[in-house]
């Protein structure tokens, strides 16, 4: 337990190393060769992905005196993060090329954020939770404000910063309460304590947990800490938005799952948490999906949509049993490919039309059928339409919530929102397929991106037709979490 066992941290360490390495190499590279950095980071991402398969890592266990845990969920999510990073590097290449300066920093920050996400997947005490979270957050402060000359970018950065810090403070205060109530910040001890027969659920603890979930809700863009999302999604550089919409969101979720996993073991605490999470989930669903309807900017639309998507995962978390966890993990993984698909298209359409207006997408079906197909499939998967991955995830989440009768109302809310979401996604699809092009601009995507998009389309279809493949990974990971195996 208390041995260092550094081998488990290889991915994290590699990530940090890669970040620093890129930064240093950046110093030596002449201006025109900087493109190599992009290649380097792609390689790094691949290496990081592979590093999670190192036998010692893959078999999992504790490290750093029990403050670092590698289990099924951690591994799964680290791989998801690595894939996300790879996607980001793939679609950001042109964008970074156009930067007059600071290519190195961009990749360094991305890699550092990635290391933070890796850490989030494996935290096993509140201190590392906080630190890991902040590593991600702070890197994103910078990334969002990366276009220092763009008022939008800076404004987005500032908003993210303030709201992020406030939520961090809330989180800390919550942790403090939990610490006060239980006397420890180590998850292993907490896991043991909460199921102890003499454990009493004090109000401090409950409030503390509420605050913690609010604080994490900032990253997962859950109501009420979602306020930053639309602005920042719109203001940030598109690749960063992509990274944030998946990476930092999932980091938040993996932390939520972790905390839930720790405290949810005790039925008493779960009974306190479920209504809270359910309420948040319902509000998030309505807020995101209703807000998305009138949007005319694709990135803003995606911002609201990502709020809505968060609501569905909260359904599974509120249900707090294995199927919910499994569904949440499934959904998170499918979310990686879905959102990356969509943002991949967004990046290259925006490069052609120089704006993010929804009407840029009119007639895409004729001007670039391949991108149009990818976008359509991505949006449909977000809408949860079979035979796509998103549908299965959504069904698992709804199903898990449906298991416990007191959450039926939440499922009805979820179903209503499926229809609403269907509407605004179809509005985009309508533009692409039915309307005629407005601008002569013909979006084009480089081959590597085409391949990436193609692969993720295939994965989405595979995840729809043969969900058992992915489900075979998430189910055991969820089972490990030690939550009840049937609805409460």
């Amino acid at each position: 337990m208390d041995k260092l066992n550094l081998i488990l941290l290889v991915p994290e360490l590699l990530a940090v190393a890669a970040g620093i390495g890129v930064m240093l190499w950046d110093l030596w590279l002449p201006r025109e060769k900087k493109i190599a950095l992009s290649t380097a980071s792609m390689v790094a991402a691949v290496v990081l992905f592979l590093s999670t398969f190192i036998p010692a890592v893959a078999e999992g266990g504790h490290a750093m005196g029990g403050t670092f845990l590698v289990d099924g969920m951690a591994l799964l999510m680290k791989r998801a993060f690595a894939v996300t990073a790879l996607f980001v590097f793939l679609i950001s290449r042109e964008y970074v090329e156009d930067l007059e300066r600071g290519q190195g920093e961009f990749y360094t920050l991305c890699l550092l954020a990635l290391s933070g996400m890796f850490l989030c997947a494996s935290v096993n005490d509140f201190m590392s939770l906080f630190v890991a979270l902040e590593v991600v957050t702070v890197s994103f402060f910078v990334l969002v404000a990366f276009k220092r000359r763009s008022t939008k970018s800076v404004e987005a950065g500032l908003k993210l910063l303030v709201i992020g810090s406030v939520s961090a403070a809330l989180l800390l205060y919550g942790i403090a309460f939990v610490y006060g109530a239980t006397g420890t910040v180590f998850f292993d001890e907490l896991r043991a304590d909460v199921v102890a027969p003499d454990f009493i659920v004090s109000t401090e603890l409950v409030i503390g947990l509420f605050l913690i979930f609010l604080g994490l809700g900032f990253k997962t863009s859950a109501v009420p800490m979602h306020v930053w999302v639309p602005d920042v999604y719109e203001g940030a550089p598109t690749p960063v938005t992509a990274f944030m919409s998946v990476g930092s969101k999932l980091a938040g979720f993996v932390l939520m799952l972790r905390v839930l996993e720790v405290f949810g073991r005790s039925a008493a605490i779960a009974a306190e948490l479920t209504p809270f999470l359910a309420l948040i989930g319902a509000l998030t669903l309505f807020y995101g999906n209703l807000g998305a309807i009138p949007q005319t900017n694709i990135k803003r639309l995606m911002g609201y949509s990502s709020i809505g998507q968060c609501g569905y995962i909260l359904l599974g978390i509120a249900a707090a049993w294995t199927m919910g966890m499994s569904g949440a993990l499934f959904y998170m993984v499918s979310y990686v490919f879905t959102n990356m698909l969509v943002f991949g298209v967004i990046v290259y359409v925006a490069r052609a039309t120089k704006s993010h207006d929804l009407d840029d997408y009119s007639g895409l079906a004729r001007s670039n059928p391949m991108l149009c197909a990818a976008m359509t499939i991505g949006l449909l998967s977000l809408a949860g339409v079979p035979p796509l991955m998103g549908f299965v995830g959504k069904l698992l989440l709804l199903g898990s919530a449906f298991g416990s009768p007191e959450l039926h109302w939440l499922v009805y809310v979820g179903l209503i929102n499926v229809v609403i979401a269907m509407y605004y996604y179809l509005c985009v699809i309508k533009r692409m397929w039915i309307h005629d092009a407005r601008s002569p601009a013909k979006p084009v995507a480089p081959m590597r991106v085409k391949i990436a998009l193609g692969i993720s389309v295939l994965i989405l279809l595979a995840g729809g037709f043969a969900p058992q493949i992915l489900e075979g990974l998430t189910a055991p990971a969820a089972a490990e979490l030690g939550l009840p195996s049937r609805p409460r």
Binding site: I163, S167, F276, I293, Q295, Y423
Partner: protein
Amino acid sequence: MEPLALYGYIILFAPLVATALITCFTLKHKAVSSWIAIGGMLVAFGANVLAAMQVFGADASFEPVHEIEWLSVGHVMIPFGVQMDALSVMMSLIVTGVGLCIFVFSTGYMKGEDGWSRYFACLSLFSFSMLGIVLSTNLIQTFIFWELVGVSSYALIGYYFHKDSAVDAGKKAFLTNRIGDFGMTWGIILLFYTLVDTLGWERASFSYEKLKLLYHASDPLIVQVMADHSGTLALATLLIFTGAVAKSAQVPLHVWLPDAMEGPTPVSALMHAATMVAAGVFLVCRLFFMFAPYEIALGVVAWMGGITALLAAGVAFVQHDIKKVLAYSTLSQLGYMVLALGMGAPAAAMFHLTTHAFFKALLFLGSGSVIYGCHHEQDMRKMGGLRKTMPVTFWTFMIGTAALAGIAPFSGFWSKDAILSAASVGHVPGAPILYGMGVLVALMTAAYMGRCVILTFFGEYRGHAKPHESPVSMTGPLVVLATASVFAGVLSIPKGISEHGGWLEHALVGATTAPVWFPGMHEEVFLPSVAIVGTVAALFGLFLAYMFYAKKAWSIDSFVAAVKPLHTLLEKKYYFDEAYLWLVANVQQTIAETCGFIEVHVLRRIVDAVAGTTRWFGGQVRLLLDGHLHRYVTLALFGAVVIIAAVLVGN
């Protein structure tokens, strides 16, 4: 399958085969089509004759019914088959025989029509449907062909589909019959399930033979049960009768028949005079055992017939279109038959049906020949003096008129006499009145036919185009039918005259007789008084026509002026069409418009409103983020507080 049944199927399907062949292969080759059609008819007729020889032959040892399962679910089995008893064979002989004449006639009349093949295909289809009704063994099968007859008549009335009048007439015929079919379906279902509820699945059935067994049952239990539910059963019977009312054009569902004259004349002759319109009468004969037990049912039937006969005869006076005159006379003759049925003399009805088939077909073809000869002129006011130019047509037409007017010894006399004598001794309420109406109608018939003949064939020619006699293909059938009209009477010369008489009745006994204990059933005898009254009436009618139109001794105009209101009433055909028009245009259409309004302005609005509301909420939600950071933070923290408070209060 014994030969008789085989004949049945041949009779039934020969015309259908003809239809199929024509539609699939020979639409382009006119001659071939017509020969295929006639061939089909010939085959059917031949088989029919063979069947008749067996059925009416010396040894009556044959199984009349052959059925297969057409559809069966649970306890309900709907059969399909042929019933070859005296009634059906008799009727099918008429259909095939008259049909054959008319097919041949058509080859002359339809010369140069481009829809020739279509015409013969439909004609064959009609023959198939009609024979189906005649030979069917059960209610559902009858209903099936009942509808098919309607369809083929729709197709043939609307033969000239570029003419609005023809199209609308077809529609009218179809819809009027649909109303009848509505009642009929209802009646059939009601009857069947009443029997199911009372006698159980085993005994209930659609088949005529099985039903007849029930009605004739001696088992006291069954008799008891049937008696208990006589009300429902009578209702069912009358509902089925509505089908007959529509098809046989009885008031008030008669409106379609006059318009149906829009079709080619041979069609009018075959369907709207000889066969199809008689289907109703035939059906009642077939189901007579169901009507017989119920005084009320018979009463309704009898009165409906009487009224129709009278009203139609009235209108016939004021028609100028020669075909319209015949159409209304057909109505009134059908009324006669129905009257006979109501009086409990199905045999008499069938007798009249037979003779009427011959002479009315003859008259229609005659008028067709006239129209053809006058270059498709139908208005009698533009004719006259044709007896010189088209002698054959003239003489045959005269024979037909005589028969229709009921002048002895022409066939019409005997059949009409049979009906009148049945009426004179009938048991239904108000029988004497009906008898009086019958006599009056006889008078009127003679009168308007006299008018028709005089206007058409006597006096001076008032038309422009030069009239000419028709080709043999047309006159031939006329002669054949004329002969039939003269001698058809022998089928059932009453016993009083010759001991061999009453043959038809005896032949039909098996098929039509009601239970022994039926009061209204009446052994047909020769009543001299009735014969005399009838003849006098007819002669007086002819005399009137002569005085008014030929001798012009009395001025028709002054007479009309004298009875102005009556005349307008007749000209307006008692305002039936107007009434229906009002019903359709105002009631029906209003309902439709209302529903349409609800659809568009209520239901659709509601749905759109839901969508609109959602969109509105969307618009509101997005206003929450107005760009001011400190409001964001406030919103977030306020939200947090509210949520936490809510949850804590909730727990």
